[in-house]
């Protein structure tokens, strides 16, 4: 078996690990939600979680609503968790009163294993092709999803955002699966237009930005769902949405999403600028409204609008979160739709 095939095999291995992790993350969320449904038991539990966590867990569980104060964070992630290292909280403590979170342990372990395979797959792909492994659509998917998982795991080291696991790993699973099934091309060297160190700079930053925007999209999506439930939306008040109560407050979710989006936006800005410099070298103009350029611009403008929305009276919170959803949709379209439907200079998909 050649290096290229080995890389593909490892990528499938990562997909498998992520699939297991997804199941485990979902079980964990479901258990958390169950825990919330029994506030009495929760209060009678170990009580070793932070005081704020305890009281609110009861309140949220009983009333099914959450206040909007920053300390009003239900189980798992107190404001303190969001702010500082969660190292000394074992899975038990973070799991909320009286509930073991064994499933999330399994989920984190398999995600980490998946990431290991994923990294190996990317490295071998690079070796097989004799260049950086992000020059066509399949490789971009491979590395972009890698960044999303790595971002998620890195965030987990600093604060407890394991509740994002099911969404992030779920998105990664879909993307990587589609990448392997539909975008796959054998490893090979690249055409002259791509032979430039800008491939290393421009595309790697774009990949990282996309990975980050994926994670913040997950946070904003959860924020909207939770907000709807908190407001007593009929559709989301069903019992199976109870797991939303297990999440941090909408305010914390919004803050988390914003912090990641801010980094993502700066990197996206850099991506566009580096792309313009590269276009100057390769195509003789820094900007030509090529479909990929148009959509990168659209992405940028939507996220700029998001940043303004957050500081505009009456537009922060829920409305701002919608901008993230729209923004992420444009990111995904820029990656898939533009490569597959439009004719342009950016036809690097290799398909």
């Amino acid at each position: 078996m050649g290096t290229g095939e080995l890389s593909t095999l490892l990528a499938w291995g990562a997909v498998t690990a992520y699939a297991i992790a997804l199941v485990a993350f979902s079980i964990d969320l479901a258990r958390l939600a169950d825990g919330l449904a029994r506030p009495a038991e929760a209060l009678g539990g170990r009580g070793q979680a932070a005081a704020a966590g305890d009281t609110v867990a009861a309140g949220a569980g009983a009333a099914g609503t959450t206040t909007m104060t920053p300390v009003a964070t239900p189980v798992g992630t107190t404001s303190a968790d969001l702010a500082g290292p969660s190292g000394d909280d074992g899975p038990e403590a973070a799991g909320g009163p009286g509930r073991s979170r064994r499933a999330v342990g399994v989920a984190m372990a398999t995600t980490t294993l998946g990431l290991g395979l994923h990294v190996l797959a990317a490295v071998l792909r690079g070796i097989a092709a004799g260049r950086v492994p992000w020059a066509n659509m399949y490789e971009f998917t491979l590395v972009g999803t890698l960044v999303a998982v790595a971002t998620f795991l890195a965030l987990c080291r600093r604060r407890d955002v394991r509740f994002l696991g099911s969404l992030v790993v779920g998105l990664v699973l879909i993307a990587l699966g589609v990448g392997l099934a539909a975008f796959y091309v054998p490893a090979d060297a690249v055409e002259p237009a791509l032979q430039s160190y800008w491939l290393v700079i421009h595309v790697s930053i774009a990949t990282i930005a996309t990975g980050l925007l994926t994670v913040s999209f997950a946070a904003s999506a959860l924020q909207l769902l939770k907000d709807s439930r908190d407001r007593g939306s009929a559709r989301l008040s069903a019992a199976r949405w109870r797991l939303l109560d297990a999440l941090p407050s909408t305010r914390d979710l919004e803050a988390l999403s914003f912090r990641i989006n801010a980094v993502g936006f700066v990197l996206w800005t850099f991506t566009i600028m580096a792309g313009a410099v590269w276009a100057e070298h390769a195509w003789g103009r820094y900007w030509g409204w090529d479909p990929k350029e148009v959509w990168s611009f659209v992405v940028w403008v939507v996220y700029a609008a998001y940043l303004h929305a957050r500081t505009t009276r009456g537009w922060s919170g829920r409305r701002a979160a919608w901008f993230v959803l729209v923004g992420y949709a444009t990111v995904i379209f820029n990656f898939t739709g533009v490569n597959l439907f439009f004719q342009g200079l950016h036809s690097y998909s290799g398909l």
Binding site: F265, H281, G317
Partner: protein, 540 residues
């Protein structure tokens, strides 16, 4: 307005909780003419409108990626017009085939930038005052602040204040982390007031100003730039003069006399492809000799991604192909044509299409040859095709026309198309066009007694773009400024911090509070750091 200027609709002052207030009801003002103007201006420079204009900009940019665009691909626009006779002319009238120069697209971004100017001018004025401001006085009560802390130490109050100061200012004296003031209150308590993050607004203003800078430099570049395309065959040269370009366009402020008259000769062109059936390109190198006026000849090369800088302009390698060297003798045996004819590659195997026009015949009718060049030909029953882009077994497959080429009526013609209205094709007896196959080095009879054709050689050509845009360094500089400003404004925390130091029962009690602008996950840590520095006094 207070010292915190914010555009209309902006949520609160800099330290307001981010909790959205109810949107202020729009009070309908009594409008005179001036009133209307002022009201419009206030609306335009409000955050709400900036936000909507941004979203609108995203929306109006989209059609340009869906519909073919004239500046990028005029042929595709023509096709689209032909295919959609109902709708397309309307789209055309509304500027949908040149979106980014259309009135509506321009209107949106110009309004946005007007709004931007209206927004940053007052903000800059206010900020220039604010950067010199001192931290606000220590509030009487700390209990409403999100971050609080306290410590009881044995160190004297003055020492506590000193330690807090050192901790807040940081080790880099010239770039203090916090701006710190201390004071003694009427009751004898000492206070420390500190503020950091002035750079946040500076960064934000830098960012918005830099965007303006980018817009202005791009526009200036548009006025001063020129861009030309030329096709140079191996062994031939090219001189930098407007007439030597195949196409040339320049901005309104461009002066043709400013072209530096350098010459550029293509010595050799090398192309490499993978050896598999896909024949993916791997490398293109154009070895050239450049002569600038008053300078020695210099030998250099142009590659994709590595343009050549000469005479202030840049030369980009945009394409390549073959230009067979052909000789035609007419029916009388006189030399009618000798030269290279570029054939334009149409697929990855360099199946290339070209036209040979022979107007200068000594007798009879003018001759036109149309057809294909196959670098590595494979001829089968069903026809001929090229199987590899390198010239391993080149073949010309041509059909022949005679008549009037239409070159003399003064209408400019496309060199890659044959104007056949005044010409007739030479046909076989069964009515199919007569096809001639020519190998490299061969001479063949043209059908219909039109003369002979000799294929003497197969040089390559390169297609280059020459481009001059003096705004490039400015655009780059403003872009970098924008990126720096953006990062500073997004990642600089804005915090205020206060301490009150009192003596109680012979010990020193330190109370602290901190407030941040917006969500700030590091606020508690910041206060803890100061408190720890104070507590460390006892541990000495």
């Amino acid at each position: 307005m207070s010292e915190d200027y914010r555009p209309d609709g902006h949520a609160g002052g800099p330290y307001a909780e981010t909790e959205p207030g109810a949107a202020t009801p729009v009070a309908l003002p009594r409008l005179g003419f001036v009133g209307t103007l002022r009201w419009t201006w206030r609306q335009l420079t409000s955050m709400r409108v900036a936000l909507m204009l941004l979203m609108l900009l995203a929306v109006v940019a989209v059609p340009g990626s869906v519909l073919p665009q004239r500046p990028q691909d005029p042929a595709a626009v023509a096709r689209y017009l032909a295919d959609n006779p109902g709708l397309a002319p309307w789209l055309d009238r509304l500027g949908f085939f040149d979106v980014y120069a259309s009135v509506w697209f321009s209107a949106v971004y110009i309004l946005l930038f007007v709004s931007l100017v209206g927004c940053i001018v007052p903000r800059t004025r206010v900020h220039l005052r604010a950067v010199r401001a001192r931290p606000p006085r220590t509030p009487r009560r700390f209990d409403r602040f999100p971050a609080r802390g306290s410590a009881v130490v044995d160190a004297a109050p003055e020492e506590v204040v000193g330690a807090a100061r050192r901790s807040l200012t940081g080790s880099v004296g010239l770039l203090p982390r916090f701006r710190v003031d201390d004071a003694v209150e009427a009751g004898g308590a000492r206070t420390v007031a500190a503020e950091r993050g002035y750079l946040r607004e500076s960064g934000n203003l830098l960012f918005h100003l830099a965007l303006l800078g980018i817009l202005v430099s791009v526009a200036t570049g548009q006025m001063l730039h020129y861009r030309g395309q030329a096709l140079v065959v191996e062994g031939r040269g090219f001189a930098n003069a407007v007439t030597d370009y195949d196409t040339f366009e320049a901005g309104t402020a461009f002066d043709p006399r400013s072209l530096v008259p350098f010459t550029l000769t293509l010595d050799e062109f090398t192309a490499e492809f993978t050896t598999d059936a896909a024949a993916s390109p791997r490398d293109f190198v154009a070895d050239v000799t450049v002569t600038e006026p008053g300078a020695e000849e210099s030998v250099t090369s142009i590659r994709v991604n590595h343009p050549l800088t000469v005479g202030g302009a840049k030369v980009y390698l945009m394409g390549n192909g073959y230009a067979p060297e052909l000789t035609v003798h007419d029916a009388a045996g006189e030399l009618a044509f000798a030269g290279t004819v570029p054939f334009v590659p149409e697929d990855a195997q360099y199946l290339s299409r070209g036209v040979v026009k022979v107007p200068d015949v000594s007798t009879g009718e003018q001759v036109g040859l149309v057809g294909y060049l196959l670098p590595t030909a494979e001829v089968t029953e069903s026809g001929a095709r090229s199987v590899y882009p390198q010239p391993f077994d080149p073949l010309l497959v041509l059909t022949v026309w005679s008549g009037d080429l239409g070159l003399d009526d003064g209408v400019p013609q496309n060199v890659y198309e044959l104007e056949t209205t005044e010409m007739t094709q030479v046909l076989e007896e069964d009515g199919t066009p007569t096809t001639i196959l020519v190998g490299l080095g061969e001479t063949v009879e043209l059908p219909g007694g039109l003369g002979t054709l000799t294929w003497d050689g197969l040089p390559r050509f390169m297609a280059v773009d020459l481009r001059y845009d003096p705004a490039l360094p400015w655009i780059l500089a403003f872009s970098i400024a924008a990126l720096v400003g953006l990062s500073v404004s997004l990642f600089t925390p804005r915090r205020r911090l206060w301490l009150r130091v009192t003596e109680q029962d012979g010990r020193t009690v330190v109370d602290g509070a901190a407030l941040a602008r917006g969500d700030d996950l590091g606020l508690d840590g910041e206060l803890d750091r100061v408190m720890d520095a104070v507590r460390a006094l006892d541990g000495r």
